[in-house]
């Protein structure tokens, strides 16, 4: 990297620290709020130091849930979100790597058309096609199922495009060497393409896992049963606008829990993520 400085170090550092503060302070406040009595938050006397109700609040949140509103243990919601995000992430990667493989390595009629059709779906996120997709899922009887919440979100033009671009950088000679070595299309995929794509897969996993985790509109439509709720929807439902008392400490604890898995995924896969986006093992 080129070390070309224009301006003092302290300036850069103070900008960075300001950014970190802006990002981290609300998260800290959320954590603080989740460790106090509900009345303290409702009164608007928000303290800046953690209170003494950490274990009690988190125990209640995970295993019992908000008693007056959703009544679903957040543990269940977490499980639902985790299943949804995992199925979407793994499904997206599996489908798009296979379709990119087909588009790049096989000569079949309308190959270009197939690719551009996939590409066009970039313009059709679930929000745009929500009514027809809902209709299909409902007709198939998939409401309130994991299949219903995940399958319509799995197809991914972005991931297909990313894999396609990556496959096109794999030298043709590798394919030819494999052909001469006697490997057919499936072995070439399994033995060469897949191992070379591992960093791309990791990067895509991070992106698509967070995409799946943050889904709000679609699961909101598809799920009605309490035990199918995802955590992102759960938080919203815990907050009551009428005169009932919102259990803020539980809302805050749920928010903390909702943040944890995506953060964990990013932290654990950060190295691979960056590698997958900027370099390839060649």
């Amino acid at each position: 990297m080129i070390d070309r400085r224009s301006g003092p170090d302290w300036l850069a550092h103070s900008v960075l620290w300001t950014g970190i503060f802006i990002l981290a302070f609300p998260v800290y406040l959320t954590f603080v709020a989740s460790t106090h009595e509900p009345t303290i938050i409702s009164n608007g006397q928000m303290p800046l130091t953690p209170g003494g109700h950490f274990f009690e609040t988190y125990y209640r949140t995970i295993f019992i849930g908000a008693s007056s509103t959703t009544r679903t243990p957040v543990g269940t919601m977490l499980t639902n979100s985790l299943i949804m995000a995992m199925v979407i992430a793994v499904g997206k990667i599996a489908i798009s790597i296979i379709s990119a493989y087909a588009v790049v390595y096989f000569r079949f009629p309308f190959r270009k058309t197939a690719f551009w059709t996939i590409f066009l779906t970039l313009m059709l996120p679930v929000e745009v096609r929500i009514y027809p997709t809902y209709n299909v899922v409902a007709t198939l009887g998939l409401l309130d199922t994991y299949a219903g919440t995940t399958i319509p979100l799995i197809a991914s033009a972005t991931a297909t495009l990313l894999f396609r671009q990556f496959f096109m950088t794999i030298p043709d000679e590798l394919l030819e060497a494999s052909k001469i070595d006697g490997a057919g299309p499936i072995r070439f995929f399994k033995d060469t393409v897949l191992p070379l794509s591992i960093t791309n897969i990791a990067a895509l996993f991070v992106i698509t896992f967070i995409y799946g985790w943050n889904q709000y509109l679609w699961p909101l439509l598809i799920t009605t049963r309490a035990d199918m709720q995802t955590i992102v929807i759960g938080i919203k439902k815990m907050i009551v606008t009428s005169d009932a008392l919102t259990e803020w400490q539980i809302v805050m604890a749920t928010a903390m829990l909702a943040m944890a898995p995506p953060v964990a995924v990013v932290v654990l896969m950060q190295r691979w993520f960056v590698k997958g986006l900027v370099e390839t093992e060649k």
């Binding site: 030298p171 000679e173 590798l174 030819e176 060497a177 052909k179 001469i180 070595d181 006697g182 490997a183 072995r187 033995d191 060469t192 191992p195 070379l196 093992e281 060649k282």
Partner: protein, 355 residues
Amino acid sequence: MAEVKIAGIKKSFGDVNVLYGIDTTIRDGEFMVLLGPSGCGKSTLLRIIAGLEQQTSGDVSIGGRIVNDVEPKDRNIAMVFQNYALYPHMSVYDNMAYGLRVRGMSKPDIETRVQKAAMILELGQLLQRKPRQLSGGQRQRVAMGRAIVRDPEVFLFDEPLSNLDAKLRVQMRIEIKRLHQTIKTTSVYVTHDQVEAMTLADRLIVMNAGRAEQIGSPLDVYAKPASVFVAGFIGAPAMNLLPSRISGGKARIGDVALPLPPGLDAHEGREIMWGVRPEHVMLTRAGDGASGAPIIVDLVEALGADTLVHGRTGGGAALTIRLPGSAVVREGDHMSLSLPADAVHVFDKEKGTRL
């Protein structure tokens, strides 16, 4: 080991013709080099033999079996690519073992073969390394190892040395030659480097624009080039080729008369290309009773072992002459050409063929 027979191979990509019909037989155990400038179709021909490219028409047979519709993996060939095409995620050992594993060979057999190839190529210390941890020459050896372990009937080399630096290229060239002498597998080797071609080949095919201009042993091709193209392509510095006309048993360029080999009486008056290699011309000081055509020295390149003299004859025709390094010649000197008539090559001017 096997004989490779190529019969009437034509190839076109859409409207573009790349090969216009190549016929040749590569004998069992022979080292055949395909030589030509880039774009002459030599790599395409190799890829057709490998089965990576389908010919438009014509037959390829390996070991007496026509393989036109046989998949590359079933042709019993092995190929070494220009960029090595090693599997980047596999160790050297796995790179060599992969083809055997795919074919379902047993583990101990694979082990034996890989170890043997590693010994021949001195790769023993490197078996657990990844390709990116190897130098260019080592990668090239691994690529050859991958070919050897398969014990194929035919080796195909696609410009295997052109990614190496000059010194390594010379060294690897010798290793390839030695390897071929040891295992004597029929080999087809594509290159645009004439030194590689001359040193490695038992026979070579000089290709130009999709046609085989000449097929023969390196020394034959050097001594009796079949066309103007071959004459100009083989040999460095290139053969002197001058357009001229046969008149009175001499080749005439303006008022300069140059000698001709005997037996060209029937071609009196014909337009020709007159050629002589720089190393076959001698220079003597003008005026010492010299009888040859006069030449004025324009430029002298002293290379140590040789001295290259660039000069002009009276008619303005430029000649390059290669003299021993000890020759004392200076720019502006008036010299006299002396060249034996049997060192002269004569080609038809229009068709470019040897007369």
